[in-house]
Amino acid sequence: MVSLSPKNLPAADLSADQLEQGHSLWQDAWHRLRKNKVAVIGACLLIVLGLSCALAPFFAQSYYENNLELTYAPPSADHWFGTDQLGRDLLARVLYGGRISIMVGLVASFVALVIGVSYGAIAGFFGGKTDMVMMRIVDILYALPFTIFVILLMVFLKDPMQAFDTWLGQHGMKQAQGVGKIILLFATIGAVEWLTMARIVRAQIMSVKRMEFIEAARSLGYGRSRIIFRHMVPNILGPVIVYTTLTIPSVMLLEAFLSFLGLGVDDPMSSWGKLIKDGSEKMEEYWWLLVFPGTLFSLTLFSLNFLGDGLRDALDVRSSKD
């Protein structure tokens, strides 16, 4: 079995390796990406949205303070996005919700990335029976309807996470309450989203495996884990980066879907999915509750997808030929 301990992954060497091999490749990609207007606009929008969500505590109004004299106020100069049923400022709630949604998107994608790359790399490298068994498991997980899988997983992990939350509360970390639910979201979504990544990585590894430089590394007597993680994985980074950028929006969609099922974060926290769900229940009279969170959510997905497409065009070796 391959050991995955950190000592087999010399991080410094890896980046030096990359710099030497891929200097011009990454520079080319960067150049191509900058010429892609839509991708640049997407990236700028993401930076603006990300910064305003990240810096929300410094300028936005409180997202949880009730103001019962100002319930369901339409958008105005004081409350740009209006207020909700408890008189809470919707702009603040959207910005704070964005923090959760974006964080879930990033962390869960990272979880999916780590699992998917390791799993796919191992299956692709060893091939034969190992590969067959590992990929059949992926096939079976694919065929399970993921809604059922996710719901069961969330129900299964709910109690331990609640215990974790109470533990946090008892140890003077009142601020951190609700973190358990978020970790639960990370784990569940990551556990579902790694399947496609594993397939992509496996296919890439299979094609890299037969190349001369791997043969050379093997003839020099390098160990398996060194060959997998130092020589093969860096060479498949392109597709992995592209697919990760495209995983983030789908993870955010999944988070929103879970919120729609009522499995998202708990009050008074907000996430975009939760705001959209609440808004869609009251939209007949209070349109702003649906329109603003929905628009911001869609804008973010837009930017991420355009950026991902731009990256794919920029990094894809095939398209660089023409």
């Binding site: 399970l144 959209i276 649906l290 869609s298």
Partner: protein, 329 residues
């Protein structure tokens, strides 16, 4: 020769399917029982004697292996009367497959629930699929032909909207505009024919977006190939090149996508069915997982998995038919 190779291919794939479905059923069976809580624990506490009676009635007290054995035996196909399917998707009458009683709906069997709710989901899904293909294919072909022109950017942006605006935003917004402000359609319900318009449009738009993107990608790939240049050099008109030569290969990615997509679309969408109050299978699917209705979960999972596997097989066959380079191994 091709026919024989195809039949052998299908037969082998069907044989391979049996263990996969078996594993899926087994995995789901034990997974749902492994999750804490049961179908009758969420409700208010009942006296232990009654609880025992309930458990005994539904055989929940049997050892797990016995429950599993009985379940597997009951769902095994034991008859063959496909003509029974005329009256609806009744698997018990047609194949003798009995998915057992529901734990949440008194006096209802899982077979009945599926028979009652599947038609709504299928009819909604079929309209949505037509919408998706009618919108997505032309958009994708157009974008590919006019690559990097404003038409391409327009088509690609429109399809990106479909991907980035989730159904639970698009649906309520359509209701808001066409149902409430304009008053053209009912906001929700499933009675008149016109009630199908908004949900089908919502569901169709999302799939249309994916179809358009995949068509564009596939067409671009094909249009750069030598045989297209040959066709042009031989003086074939542009229309003929596109529709006769390119479209065949350009549709390959769409076909691969449509397999799982049709399975998903036919078994119903929880979000759409909730927003528009449609009595479909998608809602049963999700609520059964929440209420731990073991038999209903298993029934829907088996239905979904079988559909996915069957449609993937169809996809593989269609792909060989579309692409002469592929062969039935």
């Amino acid at each position: 020769m091709l026919g024989q190779a195809m039949l052998r291919f299908i037969a082998r794939r069907l044989l391979e399917t049996i263990p996969v479905i078996f594993v899926i059923i087994t995995a789901t069976f034990f997974m749902i029982r492994f999750v804490p809580g049961g179908p009758f624990t969420a409700e208010k506490a009942v006296p232990p004697e009654i609880q025992r009676n309930i458990d005994a009635y539904y055989h929940l007290n049997d050892p797990l292996w016995k429950q599993y054995r009985d379940y597997m035996w009951k769902i095994c196909p034991k008859a063959f009367h496909p003509q029974e399917l005329r009256h609806g998707p009744d698997l018990k009458a047609a194949f003798g497959m009995d998915f057992g009683p529901s734990f949440k709906y008194a006096n209802r069997t899982v077979n009945e629930i599926i028979t009652d709710t599947l038609p709504a989901s299928i009819s909604l899904g079929a309209i949505a699929l037509i919408v998706a293909l009618a919108l997505g294919l032309p958009l994708g072909v157009l974008a590919a032909i006019k690559r990097n022109s404003w038409i391409d950017y327009l088509c690609s942006s429109v399809s990106m909207i479909g991907i980035c605006v989730p159904t639970f935003v698009l649906g309520p917004m359509l209701v808001l505009v066409f149902g409430i402000y304009l008053g053209w359609f009912n906001a929700s319900g499933w009675y008149e024919l016109s009630d199908r318009v908004l949900p089908a449009a919502t569901l169709g738009c999302v799939y249309a977006a994916y179809v358009a993107r995949l068509t564009r990608g596939g067409m671009l790939e094909v249009l750069g190939q030598d045989y297209i240049r040959t066709a042009r050099a031989k003086g074939a008109s542009e229309t003929r090149v596109i529709f006769k030569h390119a479209l065949r290969g350009g549709l390959l990615p769409v076909v691969a996508f449509l397999g799982p997509a049709i399975a998903g679309i036919m078994t119903g969408s929880f979000v759409i069915e909730t927003i528009f109050q449609i009595p479909g299978l998608g809602r049963q699917f999700v609520t059964s997982a929440f209420s731990r209705d073991y038999n209903l979960i298993l029934g829907t999972v088996i239905l979904y998995a079988t559909l996915i596997i069957a449609l993937n097989l169809v996809v593989d066959v269609v792909q060989v038919w579309l692409n002469p380079k592929l062969k039935f191994e």
